[in-house]
C-alpha cells in the first residue's frame, strides 16, 4: 500500500523536469552507494570484479599494452619458455609458440574475441529473453504455452552440440557464432523473468496500478520490469561466463573465429601438439579462460547477494 | 537433593549472530522431581524452547551452551561426550515438538520411525542392553526387528491409533494433525523415558484435538510414572496439566512456584499480566487486557530488570539493579524488586 501511495504522490505532485532529474539522480546515487556497501562485504566478489575489469582494460588497450604483433610469426623467437623458466626472458613473459608469436600478446588479443562474444550474445539474449519472458508470464495462455514448449525443446539440445551443429551449418565467422549461441541463449533470461513475472503479477502494486487504469504495456514495462531487473542482471552476468566457455569450446573444436585471429580456445587446440615439450603454449590460454570465467562467476554471486537476497541458496 | 530427577543450574545459551550476542537463556535454574509435571511459560522468544533444547544439547548453530550444569540423576549432561549423551536422548529423556508434520520425516514410514527409536535403545524384548546392533548376527537382528515391530504396534495402540498394522506402513502426510501428534508421542515414549520434554505439543492443533492430546499425555504420564516438562504459552494448558510452573521472560526465570500459587497469587507483574490476558467466560464483558509493548530484542536488553520497559510498577531502582531470584515462600521464587520490597 505504501508503494501505491508513493506512486500516487508521484502522479500528483507536479515538478519541473529539472527537479525530477535531480531527484532521480539523487536516488540513483544512494542506491549505488547501498549496493556497493553490500557488494564490498564479499571479498571474493571484489576480486572477481577486479579480474574481469583487468581483462576488459587489457583487451581494449591491447596495442598499447604489448609491443608484439598477435598474428605475425617471428622466427627468431620460436618456442621460448615463460620468464620464470630457464631460458625465458621479459621480452616474452609467457613465452612464444611454434611460430614465435608472443603468448601474452595473443592472450590479450584473444580476450577481445571472448569478451566481445560473451557480452554481445548475452546482451542480445537478455533483450530477447526479457521481452518474451514478460509477455509469456504476463499474458499466459496460448502465447505462454508456445514459448514454453519452444524452451523445453531447446533445453533438450545440449548447448555445445547445438551450437557446433549451427556453426557448422551457418559457416564460420564472428557473426555466425553469435547467431548460433543466441539460438539457445535467450531461454535463460526468459525463464527467470517469466518466473519473476508470475510472482510480481500477484503483488499489490500491480493491482494498484490496474485500479488507477494503467494499460498492459505500462504495467509490464513500468511496473513489473523494474522489479525483475535485479534477478535479470544476476542471471545475465553469470551467463556471460557460460557463453565465454561455449565460445572457447567452439574455437577449440576448430569452429570459432577464423585463424589467425587469436582466440583462447583455438590457441589451446593449436598448442596441444606441443604439449609434451612446450606445455605453456596450450595451458596458459586455458588459464586465461578459467580466470575470466571464474572472475565473472564470483562477480555474479556477489551481485546476487547484494541485489537479490531471495535468489540466494 | 538426591530426589531430583533433573536439576538445571545457571544454564546459559547464547546465540552468536551478525547483530551481536543474543542471550537466549541467561542463567536459568530449576529442578524437576520424579513423576512431576513442570510447565515453562512465557511469550514467544523468551527462551523456553532454547532451554528445552539445551537440556538435550540440541542447540543448533549459531547457538552455543556457554555455561551452567544440567544434572540428570546427578550426572552432568553438559560434561558428557557426544556418544555418551546419545545414551540419554530418547532413552532417558524424550522430546516432542510443536508441529508434528515438520517433525516426522516425510520420506520414512511412520512404522520405520517408531521402530528406529526402539531399536536404538533396544528398549524391550529382554535382549541385552548396550550391545551394538551392528555386531549382532543376522538371526538376532531379525528377531530384534520383529520385537521392535511388535513393540511399535503396542505403542501405536497405546496412543490410540486404530488399525495400527496398516497405518505403520503409511507416511506422515497421510495422517491428520492430531494423529501425527499421537505418532510423535508414541515415538517419544517407546523407550519408557524418565523425562518427557514437550515443546508446545498442542499449539498447532485444533482446540478439540488439543484436549484429546493433553488427556492422552496425562494418562500416559501417570501410567509410566514419568516426569514432564511442558513448554507452552497457554496458561490454561498449564492449569490443567502441571504441578509446578516456571515463568520465563527474556532468557531468565522471573517466577517459579506451585501451580496454584502462580495462578491465584502471582507475585511478578509479568505473571500477573499473562494471567490478565487470558479471556475468561465469567467476565466476558471486560475487554481482554494485554501487556503493552514487546519482548525486548535479546542482543539489546535494557539495563537492570529486563521487564521494566513494559512494567507498570517500574521505578528508578529497577533500571539500576538486576533483581535476583529470591524465595517468597519455601517453594515459590520471584525475581522482582517491587514484589519483595
Amino acid at each position: 500500500m505504501d508503494k501505491y501511495l508513493a506512486r500516487a504522490e508521484e502522479f500528483v505532485i507536479t515538478e519541473t523536469l529539472q527537479q525530477k532529474l535531480l531527484r532521480v539522480l539523487r536516488r540513483t546515487i544512494s542506491n549505488i552507494r547501498e549496493f556497493w556497501r553490500l557488494y564490498r562485504k564479499n571479498h571474493l566478489a571484489v576480486i572477481g570484479g577486479a579480474i574481469v575489469l583487468a581483462f576488459i582494460l587489457l583487451a581494449i588497450f591491447a596495442p598499447w599494452v604489448t609491443p608484439h604483433d598477435p598474428v605475425a610469426p617471428n622466427f627468431r623467437a620460436i618456442r621460448k619458455p615463460p620468464v620464470w623458466m630457464k631460458g625465458g626472458s621479459w621480452t616474452h613473459p609467457l613465452g612464444t609458440d611454434h611460430l614465435g608469436r608472443d603468448i601474452w600478446t595473443r592472450i590479450i588479443y584473444g580476450a577481445r574475441v571472448s569478451l566481445f562474444i560473451g557480452f554481445v550474445v548475452v546482451g542480445f539474449a537478455t533483450v530477447i529473453g526479457v521481452t518474451l519472458g514478460l509477455v509469456s508470464g504476463y499474458y499466459g495462455g496460448r502465447i505462454d504455452a508456445v514459448i514454453q514448449r519452444v524452451i523445453d525443446t531447446l533445453l533438450a539440445f545440449p548447448y555445445l552440440i547445438l551450437a557446433t551443429a549451427l556453426v557448422g551449418v551457418l559457416g564460420p565467422g564472428l557473426r555466425n557464432i553469435v547467431l548460433a549461441l543466441l539460438y539457445k541463449e535467450w531461454i535463460y533470461p526468459c525463464r527467470v523473468v517469466r518466473g519473476e513475472v508470475l510472482v510480481a503479477k500477484e503483488q499489490e502494486y500491480v493491482e494498484a496500478a490496474r485500479t488507477v487504469g494503467a494499460g498492459n504495456r505500462h504495467i509490464m514495462f513500468k511496473e513489473i520490469l523494474p522489479n525483475v531487473l535485479a534477478s535479470t542482471v544476476v542471471v545475465s552476468t553469470l551467463r556471460v561466463g557460460s557463453v565465454i566457455l561455449m565460445e572457447a569450446s567452439l574455437s577449440f573444436l576448430g569452429l570459432g573465429v577464423e585463424p589467425p585471429t587469436p582466440a583462447w580456445g583455438s590457441m589451446v587446440a593449436e598448442g596441444r601438439r606441443f604439449i609434451n615439450t612446450e606445455w605453456w603454449v596450450s595451458t596458459l590460454p586455458g588459464l586465461a579462460i578459467l580466470l575470466t570465467v571464474l572472475g565473472i562467476n564470483l562477480m555474479g554471486e556477489g551481485l546476487r547477494d547484494a541485489l537479490d537476497p531471495k535468489l540466494r541458496e | 537433593m538426591g530426589n531430583w530427577l533433573l536439576e538445571v543450574k545457571d544454564l546459559k545459551t547464547y546465540f552468536y549472530t551478525d547483530n551481536g550476542v543474543a542471550k537466549a537463556v541467561d542463567g536459568v535454574s530449576f529442578s524437576v522431581a520424579h513423576g512431576q509435571a513442570v510447565g515453562i511459560v512465557g511469550e514467544s522468544g523468551c527462551g523456553k524452547s532454547v532451554t528445552a533444547r539445551s537440556i538435550m544439547r540440541l542447540v543448533d548453530y549459531p547457538g552455543k551452551i556457554v555455561g551452567g550444569q544440567v544434572l540428570f540423576r546427578g550426572e552432568d549432561l553438559l560434561a558428557k561426550s557426544e556418544k555418551e549423551i546419545r545414551q540419554f536422548r530418547g532413552k532417558e529423556i524424550a522430546m516432542i515438538f510443536q508441529d508434528p508434520l515438520s517433525t516426522l520425516n516425510p520420506v520414512l514410514t511412520v512404522g520405520d520411525q517408531i521402530v528406529e527409536a526402539i531399536e536404538l535403545h533396544h528398549g524391550s524384548g529382554g535382549l541385552p542392553v548396550g550391545l551394538p546392533l551392528e555386531r549382532l548376527n543376522p538371526f538376532m537382528r531379525r528377531r530384534m526387528r520383529e520385537e521392535a515391530w511388535k513393540r511399535a504396534l503396542e505403542m501405536m495402540e497405546q496412543v490410540g491409533i486404530s488399525a495400527p498394522e496398516q497405518r505403520m506402513a503409511e507416511y506422515p502426510h497421510q495422517f491428520s494433525g492430531g494423529m501425527r501428534q499421537r505418532v510423535m508421542i508414541a515415538i517419544a515414549l517407546s523407550c519408557n523415558p524418565a523425562l518427557l520434554i514437550a515443546d508446545e505439543p498442542t499449539t498447532a492443533l485444533d482446540v478439540t484435538v488439543q484436549a484429546q492430546i493433553l488427556e492422552l499425555m496425562k494418562e500416559l504420564q501417570r501410567k509410566l510414572n514419568m516426569a514432564v516438562i511442558l513448554i507452552t504459552h497457554d496458561l490454561g494448558v498449564v492449569a490443567e496439566f502441571c504441578d509446578r510452573v516456571i515463568v520465563m521472560y527474556a532468557g531468565k526465570v522471573v517466577e517459579a512456584g506451585p501451580v496454584d500459587d502462580i495462578l491465584f497469587a502471582p507475585r511478578h507483574p509479568y505473571t500477573a499480566g499473562l494471567l490478565r490476558s487470558i479471556p475468561r467466560i465469567e467476565d466476558r464483558h471486560r475487554p481482554i487486557q494485554t501487556i503493552p509493548g514487546m519482548v525486548p530484542e535479546l542482543h539489546n536488553l535494557p539495563s537492570g530488570c529486563r521487564f521494566r520497559t513494559r512494567c507498570p510498577m517500574a521505578d528508578a531502582r529497577c533500571a539500576a539493579e538486576d533483581p535476583p531470584l529470591v524465595n517468597v515462600s519455601y517453594d515459590h521464587q520471584v525475581s522482582c524488586l517491587q514484589a519483595i520490597a
Binding site: 572457447a248 606445455w279 | 516425510p106
Partner: protein, 335 residues
Amino acid sequence: MDKILQRLLQTIPVLIGISLIVFSLMHLTPGDPVEIMLAEVGYVSQEDIELMRAELGLDRPLIEQYFSFVAGILRGDWGTSLRARVSVKELILERLPATIELTLAAIVVSLIIGIPAGVLSAVRRYSWLDKLGTLVALVGISMPQFWLGLTLVLIFSVGLHLLPGGVRLAFDIPAPPTVTGLLLVDSILAGNWAAFWGTLRHLALPALTLGAPMSALTMRVTRSSMLEVIRQDYVTFARAKGVKEMAVIIKHALRNALIPIVTVVALNMGSLLGGNMIVERIFSWPGLGQLVVDSIRTYDYPVVQVSVMIYALTYVAMNLIADLLYIRLNPRVRI
C-alpha cells in the same frame, strides 16, 4: 500411474520440436547444401548434383521432406552417410557404446565426488573446509573442459606416467569379444581381468574430465539442499531420539535432500552430453561426440542430423528417468 502417463504425454510436443529443429538444420545453410557438400569432394558435374539432390529428397516440397524424414527415423531408416557411404545407423551404433560407457562413468564420478563433498560442506558449514570446497566447486564450473583434460594428461600421463591419456584400451591387451559394446561389461563377461583393469585405467582421466563440471554442480546443489534440510525439525527430532550423527545425516537428512538434487542434476545433464565432443577429442575416444564434430566439418548432414537428435533424445530420456526417480523418492507425490 496418472502422473507418469501425464509426464509421458508432455514429452510429445518436445519430441516434435526436436524433429523440427533437427530437420531444419540442413535447410539453415546459406546457399545450396548439396553444392557445399559436394564442394568438399572436388569437381562435380551438374548431374551429380541432381542425383544427390534426389537422394536426399531435396527436390520435393519441404512438408513432404519433413514427413519422410520423420517416417524414416521411426522406421529405423536413418539415411546414408555422404562421406563414408555406409548407413548412418551402422556408423552411429558402432560409436554409441564408447560414448555410453564414458558418459555413465562420468555420471558415476560426478555423483561419487559431488554428493559426499556437498554433504560434508553443509555439515561443516562456514568452516575452512566448506569455504575451500565452495571455491573449488566454483572453479570447477568456471573451467574449460578441454583445459582440464589437457592438464590432467600433462600431469598424469606426460609427467607421472600413471594413467593413459587416450583411447579405450591399449593395443597390446586383447579386447574381449563384443557383447554389449561396453568394454567394462564385456571384459567381465569374458572373465578377462587384464582388459577390465586396462579399460578402467583408460577410462579414468576422460571420465574425470567429463564429470568434473557436473561434480562441481552436484556439490553445490547438494550443499544448498542439505543446508535447507538440516534446519528442519525432523532432523532435530531424529537427534532427540538418540540417532547417531552419521545416521541423522544420511538416513534422515540426505534422503530428503536427494529429492531436489535429482531434478537439478538431470536438468543440467546437457552440459555432460555436450562435453562428450570435447573430451572424446582430447582423449581420442572413438565415440559419438567425435563423429558429430567430424561430420559437421565434412558437411555430412545425414550423420549430423541423426547424432544431434540422439543427444537430444538422450537428454529427454534422462529427464524422464529423473522424474520417475523423483516420484520414487518422494512419498508425498506418490499416489
